[in-house]
């Protein structure tokens, strides 16, 4: 990827060269660890890289602008409110009481998505078609979730450049459902999750 243009497109993992997913992930982790160490004035050995907790870290699905019932548990699965997000971007992160401000001493890098619904006993319809991430008042990416629809056995996609949510910075993730407004309350569950990591000081959550 020799171009200097900022690549924000979502690429299905099935369309990446062998090793490219690992290379992108490792490169992103190195970058965010470096930024966190620099801002905290700590050596990188004092930091831990861990999985995202959807509710506790990101407040995923906590805004009834986008979902029927605000999540209060650590799960990515939420009931998309198609009456609202049909043909419109709707906030999926609660913005009350500054809930959508990243915690102190915590950096989150998001670099892809996964769709979990094909692992159900009977696959359900997808609920979302686009995802938009705004950090610090700027739209950083608009990802087309349709890119993985032709790969039912590898429903994951990755972006060459991560979206970084630094400590104490406001962020928002918007759902866009272009698929259905059935006019009822029987909305489709979204099984979309974002792929990313949390970087923070050891001892804040984990002490490996």
């Amino acid at each position: 990827m020799a171009t200097l243009a900022r690549q924000t497109q979502l690429i299905p993992v099935a369309e990446l060269a062998p090793g490219a997913v690992a290379a992108i992930r490792n490169n992103i982790i190195e970058q965010v660890v470096s930024i966190a160490a620099s801002e905290l004035g700590r050596p990188v050995t004092d930091l831990v890289v861990r999985d995202l907790r959807p509710y506790t870290d990101l407040k995923w699905g906590t805004n009834t602008d986008a979902v029927q019932a605000a999540l209060t548990t650590d799960t990515w699965i939420c009931q998309s409110d198609d009456a609202k997000n049909y043909n419109a971007f709707c906030n999926a992160i609660s913005d009350s009481s500054s809930a959508n401000v990243m915690a102190d001493s915590r950096w989150i890098a998001i670099y892809g998505i996964k769709d979990l619904r094909m692992c159900l006993a009977t696959a359900i319809a997808r609920a979302l078609t686009f995802l938009r991430i705004n950090v610090g008042g700027n739209d950083r990416v608009i990802w087309d979730l349709s890119v993985i629809q032709s790969y039912p056995e590898a429903m994951a996609a990755i972006c060459p450049s991560a979206v970084l949510i630094p400590q104490n910075v406001e962020y928002m993730i918007d759902f866009y459902g272009g698929l259905s407004n059935d006019g009822s309350s029987t909305d489709v569950n979204s099984y979309i999750m974002v792929e990313g990591v949390v970087v923070e000081p050891k001892g804040k959550v984990l002490s490996p």
Partner: protein, 206 residues
């Protein structure tokens, strides 16, 4: 090979890493074109996903759809619990707005297709029909490619195809994408594989 190779090849029939190589080459080429035409350094440009309606006006033509699609979705969608289906079969049907031209400062490269039928709701085997057999691109009043979408259908776990020669739609150039509908009246599951290149800040600011 000096001939212009515009065939569509299923991704599973490509050599390992070849899909990435084509995509990266396409991105580099369209970024270089945009940088030169806009007199902007490459670092001032962003590469992002295509929004089917907002960027291409794909589906906003009743020649192709029974009802125009003014939402950003590739493929089948419902409104008032009824699927919106495609138009009359047996011919190429124009899928984008008639006489449309690409937006100022926006360049779109299309280098393949994906078939989303294989991940619709329900238990396998999925029975939805792919009603599009051919896709034709007219850019600047010249036909640039006619792709046979049928060939991706034999790979149900990777129903996508890619071409070595991307279709470039430069800024302000007229374009039309037409799909050959076999019977008409079916739901659509087509996605065009491609990228938008434009100045940073026009839509996103990574």
């Amino acid at each position: 090979m000096a001939a212009a190779n515009v065939i569509l090849t299923p991704v599973l029939e490509m050599a390992s890493g070849q899909v990435s190589a084509i995509r990266n080459a396409v991105v580099e080429a369209v970024v270089a074109v945009a940088s030169r035409e806009l007199s902007l350094p490459e670092s001032s440009l962003v590469v992002r996903d295509i929004r089917p309606y907002t960027d291409l006006a794909f589906g906003y033509n009743t020649d192709f759809m029974a009802t125009v699609t003014s939402i950003d979705v590739w493929g089948a969608f419902k409104t008032s619990d009824t699927y919106v289906v495609d138009g009359t079969g047996g011919a190429f049907r124009d899928a984008t707005v008639d006489n449309d031209t690409m937006d100022d400062n926006k360049f779109i490269a299309i280098y393949g297709v994906r078939d989303g039928r294989v991940s619709i709701a329900g238990a396998e085997p999925h029975s939805a029909i792919q009603d599009i057999s051919l896709i034709r691109f007219n850019i600047g009043n010249a036909y640039k490619a006619v792709w046979d979408m049928s060939k991706v259908q034999c790979h149900k776990n990777a129903a996508a195809g890619i071409t070595p020669s991307a279709i470039l739609i430069p800024q302000r150039v007229p374009y039309q994408i037409s799909c050959y509908l076999v019977t008409g009246g079916d739901e659509q599951y087509l996605q065009l594989m491609g990228v938008v290149v434009e100045p940073v800040g026009m839509t996103v600011s990574p």
